[in-house]
């Protein structure tokens, strides 16, 4: 039994009833007979009848005996709301009245008061009907872990936190990194070869939809074995002494400035420029780290990084030669990068983990940061908002500031050597005189492991402190966490037997244990959610909650609360939700949910050709931007309407410069900045969404219109009729897409749907397939002006994207409802059905009353009956 969103079901259910001519004729004949013979049999008395005169006056013309637009007919509509088909038609009528899309533009509008009372009537009747039928539908079907959930669970189960490619928001996929159409792997993620999860409503957490196959099972077993290997160690303990590096930390090959600075004063490593040019060519300059860390910090685990640094000359008089942000504190950034990846500045796998603001007053500061990191990675330091190398030509600086030391560059007739030594000589003059331009000084760097036990904790968890620890104990301990519940020894006897059998076959104790653990991970008790029908008990609730907010297994604190059922108390539940939302593991929720809900997972499927998208790593940056915005809404309980429009946005330098054409944001980290025209705020026009709703080559108002209807408003249009040919633009005549879509307006059969779709897409035409703002289409050499205006089905107009935002903001409760339903489906593992309407209504009105904050909505979802019931 597969639950399908009823809206999509509506037309497909109705068509068979009305389309088949013969039975209909007979049916109508009987209907007529009964209508004449006993008027009351057709419609047994029902409160719904009070709406029939309204329907007759405003709807029957197109949905009655003479005509049945969209195959919908209301004069013969029954009023038994217990019948699914009938309820759906009534629900459809209500939806159209609420949205104001019916009667359509051009037809006389019904009296507002009358319409309101009909809406009220239908609303209450349907609510009742749904509540009554709550026992029939709405069950989550046996649900397996999806790929991300499995990978995260492996991370937590085997204590692999910090291992690269297990990071909460990184989901490795086949990547076409250079646009040649060939996708290659670039990671060690154990789930990298997993098949894509089956989607329903765009979500990959719907139990009834997810499928188990032999192929997947093979991959699960391989992934388990691979991950167990990662957690297994052998050999002698490495040194746990802190590694302390005193200037000079970076030796050699680090660009001229570092070398020249060291000559004059070797007590610090100076950073004078950005580690990467704006063209994103690989840098290597301005990156401070030690060669001795070139193979990584050692063992995966927790580390404390300590840096002693000072910042100088934030304000300086050299502003017209050195382009730096004088009114912003200088930002020192700590990054980690994988050792084999090389290329410090532009390695795609480099991650900024911490930024510090330093006042440029020259005072020494000791900066510390603790993190869990992969042993094969290493830390490096950079200056986030430094000037670029190209504005730092020593000779130009000398000319301005030390005119006496200035010599003009060697001209014609000079030797190669003279030319090569010119800038270094100028630079030395600068330093000798005391460089007073902006720079950072790094005095020392310490890397200290905080986990000093050997073998590491993750190894001991699998094999015990020594070989004498009984296998049964290890298996039992593992099972309690793996199966997310209390476990009795007889429940795991089969695994102990497996381990014993393996040992008898000659496998070592460790190998045999690994076979046992693999079997547990591949078993349905691990891979499926254990939920009994009805209200969830504490343990089932804990699982659902942690997979909702962390896409991973519950931690010890959650599990212990669950075992005593304390988790079911509202105050305890709320506190846990807060704790979980504040935990970095919730980055999985932010990334995963937005990707599924907003279809950002389409990014990369049809990438824009050429270097821009790949060389500048735009896809990753786009996702970081949407993450930052959404995560901030959660953190501050920001109002959901900010998703549509806000006076702020999140930018880092790369996205600001290349997409927004703004130069007021510096550095790699995303931060909250004021929104500016023409991009504005909110999420709708962010480059991630604009790229995901285009095909890499051009844009389509239809695609984006459908996206708004589906993802934002929750009213997806019906699919196009099967025999409609797709748009084949004839670009030789250089017609705009608006002109080509005129065809939709001219045809009756196309118009009814497209007048609801296209207007939501046209205002986005000012954003090209990467989200860049444009006012003309450039094609075939001609520049055609873009007309972003739209006329909606009910006659409203929007001149451009700003007005579209205002129109959408008026539908805040519809948008909230859609978001609530997505969250409910995502969290509960099943689609929301009409039987849930009452509960959804309650959630939405509660949220609207509280100011519609996102964090509050998440809590309402987690406390709802839908979430807490199987």
């Amino acid at each position: 039994m597969i639950s399908i969103s009823f809206r999509r079901l509506r037309l497909s259910v109705i068509q068979p009833i009305f389309q088949n001519a013969k039975p209909q004729a007979a049916w109508i004949a009987w209907l007529a007979f009964f209508a004449i013979a006993s008027p009351n049999l057709l419609h047994a008395d029902s409160p719904l009848d009070a709406s029939r005169s309204f329907l007759k006056q405003h709807c029957f013309e197109c949905h009655g005996p003479k005509k049945q637009a969209n195959n919908l007919r209301f004069d013969t509509l029954g009023n038994d709301l217990a019948k699914k088909a009938e309820a759906e038609v009534w629900q459809g009528i209500l939806d159209q009245l609420n949205a104001g899309t019916m009667p359509p533009k051009g037809k006389p509008r019904p009296d507002a008061k009358e319409a309101a009372s009909v809406i009220q009537l239908l609303t209450t009747q349907l609510k009742e009907a749904y509540a009554k039928s709550s026992s029939t539908g709405g069950k989550t079907l046996l649900r397996r872990l999806n790929r991300l959930e499995f990978r995260n669970t492996l991370r937590d189960l085997l204590f692999l936190e910090g291992t690269a490619d297990f990071q909460p928001d990184v989901m490795v996929k086949l990547e076409d990194r250079n646009g040649d159409g060939v996708a290659r792997w670039s990671s060690n993620d154990p789930t990298r070869e997993f098949p894509a999860d089956e989607l329903e409503g765009g979500l990959d957490t719907i139990g009834g939809r997810l499928v188990m196959s032999d192929f997947l099972l093979t991959k699960i077993i391989s992934a388990a074995e691979y991950s167990l290997d990662l957690a297994t160690y052998s050999g002698k303990a490495p040194s746990f002494e802190p590694k302390r590096f005193v200037a000079p930390i970076s030796t050699g090959g680090n660009g001229g400035w570092a070398v020249w600075s060291r000559e004059v004063d070797p007590s610090f490593d100076g950073i004078y420029q950005r580690y990467r040019e704006p063209g994103a060519a690989a840098g290597g300059m301005g990156c401070i780290t030690s060669n001795k860390l070139s193979t990584g910090v050692g063992i995966t685990g927790r580390y404390r990084i300590t840096i002693e640094a000072s910042a100088h000359n934030q304000r300086h008089p050299w502003g017209d030669v050195i382009k730096s942000k004088q009114d912003e504190p200088m930002l020192l950034g700590l990054h980690i990068v994988d050792a084999p990846g090389g290329g410090l500045g532009e390695n795609h796998r480099s991650i900024l983990v911490k930024q510090w603001e330093l006042a440029g007053d020259g005072n020494k500061h000791v900066l510390q940061f603790e993190l869990t990191m992969d042993g094969k990675w290493l830390p490096w330091i950079g200056w986030e908002n430094a000037p670029y190398e190209r504005s730092l030509t020593p000779s130009k600086l000398v000319q301005k500031v030390l005119p006496n030391a200035y010599k003009p560059p060697p001209g014609k007739g000079s030797t190669e050597k003279e030319r090569q030594q010119y800038e270094p000589a100028m630079a030395r003059a600068l330093f000798k005189a005391g460089y007073s331009g902006p720079h950072l000084r790094i005095y020392n760097l310490t890397v200290e492991p905080l986990e000093k036990s050997w073998p590491p904790k993750r190894h001991v968890a699998l094999y015990g402190e020594n070989d004498n620890v009984p296998v049964e104990d290890l298996i039992l301990r593992f099972a309690e966490r793996a199966f997310r519940k209390s476990v009795k020894p007889d429940e795991v006897a089969r695994y102990v037997k497996l381990v014993d059998a393996q040992q008898k076959k000659g496998r070592s104790r460790a190998e045999a244990l690994r076979a046992g653990y693999t079997a547990m991970i591949a078993s349905p008790r691990f891979y499926y959610f254990s939920e009994a029908e009805g209200p969830l008990d504490g343990l089932a609730l804990a699982s659902r909650l942690s997979y909702f907010l962390w896409s991973s297994m519950p931690d010890d604190e959650l599990l212990s609360l669950a075992k005593t059922d304390a988790l079911k108390e509202p105050a305890v539940l709320r506190k846990q939700i807060d704790r979980m939302l504040d935990d970095p593991k919730s980055r999985s929720f932010v990334r995963r949910f937005t990707a599924r809900w907003l279809h950002l997972d389409k990014l990369g499927t049809m990438p824009p050709p050429g270097g821009f998208y790949f060389h500048r790593n735009m896809e990753a940056e786009m996702l970081k931007q949407t993450d930052a915005f959404f995560a901030d809404l959660i953190k501050t309980n920001g109002p959901i309407r900010n998703i549509i429009d806000s006076d702020y946005t999140f930018l880092n330098e790369r996205v600001a410069h290349w997409i927004y054409h703004r130069d007021d944001v510096w550095g790699d980290g995303f931060r909250k900045v004021p929104a500016k025209a023409p991009h504005g705020g909110g999420m709708l026009t962010m480059p991630g969404i604009m790229t995901a709703t285009a095909n890499g080559v051009d844009t389509s108002p239809v695609v984006r219109g459908v996206w708004v209807l589906e993802s934002i408003l929750g009213t997806p249009p019906s699919p196009p009729p099967p025999d409609v040919e797709p748009l084949s633009p004839d670009l030789r005549k250089a017609r705009t897409i608006r002109e080509q879509l005129e065809a939709h307006r001219k045809q009756e059969s196309c118009r009814s749907c497209h007048q609801k779709i296209d207007p939501f897409g046209f205002p986005f035409e000012n954003f090209n397939e990467l989200g860049l703002w444009r006012t003309v289409y450039k094609d075939s050499g001609k520049a055609l002006k873009i007309d972003p205006s739209a006329i909606f089905a009910d006659g409203t107009r929007a001149a451009d994207i700003s007005e579209l935002r205002k129109i959408l903001l008026k539908r805040e409760d519809q948008i909230t409802r859609n978001l609530a339903e997505r969250l409910l489906a995502y969290a509960s593992g099943r689609m929301v059905e009409r039987v849930d309407r009452g509960e959804v209504d309650r959630i939405v009105s509660a949220s609207m009353q509280q100011g519609n904050g996102l964090r509050d909505l998440i809590k309402l979802v987690a406390e709802s009956r839908i979430f807490r019931t199987k």
């Binding site: 039994m1 597969i2 069950k139 079907l141 046996l142 086949l174 646009g179 040649d180 159409g181 060939v182 996708a183 098949p195 894509a196 089956e198 989607l199 139990g207 499928v211 188990m212 196959s213 032999d214 192929f215 997947l216 099972l217 093979t218 077993i221 089969r494 695994y495 037997k497 497996l498 059998a501 393996q502 076979a515 693999t518 079997a519 591949a522 078993s523 349905p524 008790r525 499926y528 009994a532 029908e533 049809m606 050709p609 095909n695 890499g696 080559v697 051009d698 699919p719 196009p720 099967p722 025999d723 409609v724 040919e725 797709p726 748009l727 084949s728 004839d730 670009l731 030789r732 075939s780």
Partner: protein, 420 residues
């Protein structure tokens, strides 16, 4: 234009020793098999074709049609292939049509079909079972292969030139084989245990959930079967060859040609009997500047159309090359040439880069069918013939006893088997 293939050149270059299983079949069991061994190869791209240069004039039905420009490389093989007009799978969806090519069933509708959206190559793989080392080979050259699906809806991952060569010819060392044997045994034990666990868990599930649990049981069963099938192949030696390992990334044409050679070798060594290939285009190749996807949105612009025609003609030229390679090889078991017993299907589930999925480009060659014609099927909506009928015909020709496949309504009328 290329010079005709020298049969001796190819044989000498390849220097393949016949695979052991085939020898056994020759001496022992050949008589038991009632039908000759058949193979299936699907050559595809992901963007369709420029129709104006691909399809013959719709009025020219039958054998004497003018060969359109893109098909010119097949001139020499006129009597050995058939081109179909007006066949498609009856759906819309642009790029979403691409994975539908070999079944007619869209992935998200698969649950409504008894065999899901299994593709014809995978159906053949199931039929052949463990008779060959590889039940099927899913290949890619400069493109993603999106057309092979198992009956559980899994899109079969594809391998490239290098991986294919290694799979065909490179022997695993002793240690690798021992570890593979041990792994299979271990997995077998693991599967026993989890099946046991699943039985225990199943007893406490409601009816709906028990039905879902069936997927798990079926997966375990299927995996066990697969292990059993693979085990005997662990110890059988692979065929040896003088054919050098192909280098990759040498350009669109060179890579595709190298892949054709490997396909021919795979068939000759009976390493597999079901192959699909998706080929693409290396950016800026052929003296063009741009990428395949960009060209496919041609909008009738001259530059893009010319690029597409170049790319497609190359694909057809390499198809002709494959046909030559197979025609040059005798089939020691079934008589005739390898070509006589290999069905080669060229096609794409998206008809053109403009996202149409009507009138799919489909060419069938070899396999023992009666060829040489341009077959035009009805254009009107009410009389359209499902392309899946062609797939069913191919299946039946292969020896699979099936009465329907995917969205078929029967076998393809007008397509007959010739000699078998």
């Amino acid at each position: 234009m290329r010079t005709p293939m020298n049969r001796r050149t190819f044989l000498r270059g390849a220097g393949v020793a016949i695979a052991l299983p085939m020898l056994e079949a020759m001496t022992g069991n050949a008589g038991e098999r009632r039908q000759p061994i058949k193979r299936f190869v699907c050559l595809s791209n992901n963007y369709g074709v420029y129709q104006e240069s691909f399809f013959p004039d719709p009025r020219q039905v039958g054998a004497s049609y003018d060969l359109p420009e893109t098909l010119a490389p097949l001139e020499r093989h006129r009597r050995d292939f058939t081109i179909f007009s007006n066949l498609d799978h009856g759906n819309t969806g642009g790029h979403q049509g691409v994975p539908v090519l070999l079944s007619g069933v869209r992935p998200h509708m698969a649950f409504g079909f008894p065999e899901g959206n299994i593709s014809v190559d995978q159906k053949i793989a199931e039929f052949e079972g463990s008779r060959t080392r590889f039940p099927s080979m899913t290949l890619q050259v400069n493109e993603a292969n999106l057309i092979s699906f198992t009956r559980t809806g899994v899109q079969v991952p594809s391998i490239n030139l290098q991986q294919m060569y290694r799979a065909l010819f490179i022997e695993d060392g002793q240690a690798a084989r021992a570890s593979a044997r041990e792994r299979m045994a271990r997995h077998h034990s693991i599967l026993d245990v989890v099946r046991d666990e699943a039985n225990a868990m199943n007893r406490n599930l409601g009816a709906h959930d028990q039905r879902k649990m069936q997927e798990y049981f079926e997966s375990v069963r299927s995996l066990e079967r697969r292990i059993e099938q693979q085990q005997p192949w662990l110890d059988r030696p692979r065929p040896r060859t003088n054919h050098p390992e192909p280098r990759q990334g040498r350009g669109t044409a060179a890579d595709l040609r190298a892949m054709m050679e490997l396909i021919a070798l795979a068939i000759q060594t009976d390493s597999t009997r079901a192959i699909t290939l998706a080929s693409g285009f290396q950016n800026n190749d052929f003296g063009l500047s741009g990428g395949y996807h960009g060209f496919s949105h041609h909008g009738q612009r001259e530059r893009e159309v010319a690029a597409l025609r170049l790319i497609e003609r190359n694909q057809i030229a390499q198809m002709a090359f494959l046909m030559e390679l197979l025609k040059a090889q005798q089939d020691p078991i079934s008589g005739g040439t390898l070509f006589d017993h290999t069905s080669i299907l060229f096609g794409c589930g998206m008809a053109t880069g403009e996202h149409s999925t009507r009138k799919l480009p489909l060419i069938l060659a070899g396999g023992g069918f009666r060829h040489g014609e341009h077959k035009v099927y009805p254009e009107e909506n009410s009389r359209r013939v499902p392309a899946a009928n062609l797939l069913l015909s191919i299946l039946r020709n292969h020896g699979v006893q099936a009465n329907r496949f995917g969205t078929s309504s029967g076998t393809l009328t007008g397509l007959e088997g010739g000699r078998s």
